[in-house]
């Protein structure tokens, strides 16, 4: 993560101001407000603002006149109940706003979540920095043979270096040409610069962009349950993991329920449930009897940690 001196100053300025408010406040989150958490080689996640806390979930669920909280154990039990029974609207009553710097190919996956508010840095209007993503050696992986959208073993040695050099070389060259096309401040006064909205088309999708991204707690958890998942591409998961930690600071009860009922949870099909019931009765079942496909059966056995 590379911040300019000016950017560091601006962030410090924000962190040093404090104000008085009657709104609910989360001291743990205040602690890390505005702070850039590094992700990948040049990216970051910063919390810019938030609304509500665990108590606000409870307050809305109870449609109360005051804070709406009761005993800690009751509030926690209610949050667990809401999560378990997928009562999502009380979790929509909390909101969080991030400033995020991320490669464009990650941004293209991310934006598929339509329930957030977004303001992206405009390359029609402004000039992109020379910052591009090059995978760390331990993330430079071969195509998986079994999973068409997965990775396999790590590339090594000279070949790995060749791949990295090639990625870096193309990024350097396309950015050099981007600068030539822009001809900012008419360095070469003999020609006009190409329109910014056109020049940017020369940049690969590993270049970084940034945006303000605001979302409610329910939809944030939906995003995290999909993107902090092993099926997600490593590069977006790296962001989700950082945000999971932020979630824990912000709404610890909700976080705990989320880890239990979503992240660590599993979904059983009607057929899968039937298999388990038989097994618990001591009746052996095999794939054919289960009515499941080979793939489904394998997935179920993995979930159960069985070697049947």
């Amino acid at each position: 993560m590379s911040l300019s001196e000016e950017q560091r100053c601006e962030i410090q300025q924000q962190q040093s101001d404090t104000f008085s408010t009657r709104r609910s406040v989360v001291p743990e989150l205040e602690e890390i407000l505005y702070k850039p958490f590094p992700v990948l080689d040049h990216g970051f996640v910063r919390v810019i603002d938030y609304m509500g806390d665990d108590a606000a979930v409870v307050q809305a669920a109870r449609v109360s006149y005051g804070k709406g909280t009761k005993k800690i154990t009751e509030d926690k039990g209610l949050i667990n109940y809401l999560m378990r029974h997928r009562h999502s609207t009380p979790f929509e009553m909390c909101e969080i706003k991030f400033h995020i710097k991320l490669p464009m190919f990650v941004a293209r996956q991310w934006i598929r979540h339509r329930t957030a508010n977004v303001n992206e840095y405009s390359a029609r209007y402004s000039i992109l920095d020379k910052e591009f993503y090059i995978p760390a050696p331990e993330h430079l992986a071969a195509q998986s043979n079994t999973n068409r959208q997965g990775r396999d073993q790590i590339l090594e040695g000279d070949y790995a270096q060749q791949v990295l050099d090639l990625l870096r070389g193309d990024a350097e060259q396309t950015y050099k040409h981007y600068e030539f096309l822009l001809n900012e401040e008419e360095k070469d006064p003999s020609r006009p610069g190409l329109a910014r909205e056109l020049a940017r088309m020369n940049l690969p999708v590993n270049f970084y962009t940034q945006w303000y991204w605001k979302i409610d707690l329910h939809n944030l958890m939906h995003f995290l349950s999909l993107r902090a998942d092993p099926h997600a591409q490593y590069e977006i998961r790296a962001y989700a993991d950082v945000m999971l930690n932020i979630l824990k600071q912000w709404v610890p009860f909700t976080y705990e329920a989320f880890m239990d009922y979503r992240v660590g949870a599993t979904h059983l099909s009607a057929k899968g449930l039937k298999v388990i019931k038989e097994l618990l009765k001591g009746h052996p079942v095999n794939q054919v009897q289960s009515g499941m496909s080979a793939r489904e059966w394998r997935e179920l056995m993995e979930i159960l940690g069985q070697d049947l």
Copy 2:
């Protein structure tokens, strides 16, 4: 507006607590936080929480590392520009949460705005209070003959009284029966109470419900532009008017731009624009020449304050 002693206490408790925060704060809004503003005979609007201010609109539009604000006039100019050119995403970066008490027929219009978060008091689960809307005499109006969804002259004298008595009488009776059906705390131990989710079906839509309602600034303005409009039914407009005042406290620059470019603004069709251009050249135009329908022509002349 009738609050119980307990409700008053809970509200006062919220108002008296203050905390320290690094987030942006709007002192004018803090002043009225949690306060119930009366609407109609038993309704109210309370601000429960908010995120952001005018500066947050500017900050997101500029995707800045710090506060993102420059000179006041520049920030104001940018907000005007964003409003004028319908750049809506920066306004989505602010959020506000209300607690609202409102008649069910108003709630049914309100809920049509789908871009908000809602937690409504559940009459499946809880018992509705005996609170119903009876129009003030000055709002008891006859059906309009020209506008099928409008009102006309105010009812007067004995007839007005008869109408009010009838509305009140039915509300009283249906609520008495609601209580009979519920048979709460088995007042009559000889019979079980009807399920709450069934008993409530006996109540007319002038009974009050309440909800927590959270929305971003852009969508709030869209709601207000439709509901603070003369075409809206008076009863929902009464809420929108109160919320317009809250908007003014919260984001004064945005409010000013909103009043200029939305509330007080007008939309001209291609044909309407052509008429104006002709008129400005000193060429008289009539309805037939304009290609507009009689109704459109009348609407245009009203907008222009013309008597052509």
Copy 3:
């Protein structure tokens, strides 16, 4: 369900016209197009239009130039895979439009699903028919003592009759007054009718309204998974059950996957999964050891059909 002669004619007219199209067509759904399926005492569900079929899900998932279908078993396998791994976007590529008549208290639950398009009959503009919901005797149930939003035993005998009479009486009276207030066609020429938008406030929420409701297949399934569920109020479940049958006619492969992975499926928390793994190893576990609350434990045991 009571249709006027004119309404029957209009429906028959629609059913008798046929046209030629190059779009994909579902013969089983064409068969029941426009047909009103009765629900409750006066309600109905009619399919008005649809877009796509099972093949359209596959086509979009494959982003194909043609139909995109392969062998039936492959298409079915793909649909199962998409459902299992919550890849929801291909299911959003199908759309269905309904005309629905339903009591207002059901409409108020229904409208909470915000991802649909709605046009409701306007009681500001038009006059509501004299149609209200009175539960069939077998659905007239007492309040549950264990579940605050549930029902218990069926009311019987004279008491049941008294309840029904009371509901019917209030509906009859409030509608009579509604008609008095409207004074349509100035039956009583001595007084103006009250504005429609006001008069309607006298009607209880068991009166019927109607709307056009359009939704994509993914969000329809989300609606059905919540509303065809035993936790949903019977009156909305009655609609969901009819729509489940329509789903089966429309997209049979998707329906089958939906029944297996959603309706008949179950969700296991991390703690619940751990309990099952222990049980499968032959290790007895009790509630305290599981770390689950008493209620969670009971829910898990019910799911597993265990009596532990």
Copy 4:
């Protein structure tokens, strides 16, 4: 636009099949169903499916049991009225599905419209074709000096050629390296190919992607009003213009109202309206008196075609 032989065949197959339906049908749109309309150098827009027509707007607005249409002039008048008064929900009752091929930098602007359904070709899973956008000479424009997100004069002569060569050269080279990284079918058996989800990061945003995109009529018009606008970047406007023509085939009455009340229409601020009223009275007004900023004043004078 370059289609493979197989793709042409698949499209022709779709076009040649016809079926019988009871749904409403638009013959003009059936005529062009599935047909790829070329956009830019390799892009296209194809209509894959649709639901509803002008009559369906009317039918939903009237919540009717049958087709809901009356006399043509009445239906047209109703559509005009709905458009003029921003009654958007009846227009949501029609739906259209496109297959679109477009450069990634256009896709990134496009996806900001969140109210559509999207299935994009996955470069995690599949391999992108060697197709990239190179502007036609007449669209190769210099950066505007007055509008930071606009274009100015066209580049010419050797310089233009140099720019095009540079764009083409980088696209060729990055794609060659993309292929090297993928090492598909292990052309070079001595090394594993890089994971597809990583290799794609080397491609610039002028490479083409494709997606299925489905949207309702109201939101399509919102998209078109923003993207068929002179402020939109030429490359996305080229798509919007093709889709405007499709709109005209599909819903001619709605199209006409849309052109009159949206595309050709203008929005007047409260201040702007006041200026016009003064001018119509023959009172000269200048910028300072108007209370408008210099920029607003200039925009107003342009709208009015005035030279004041």
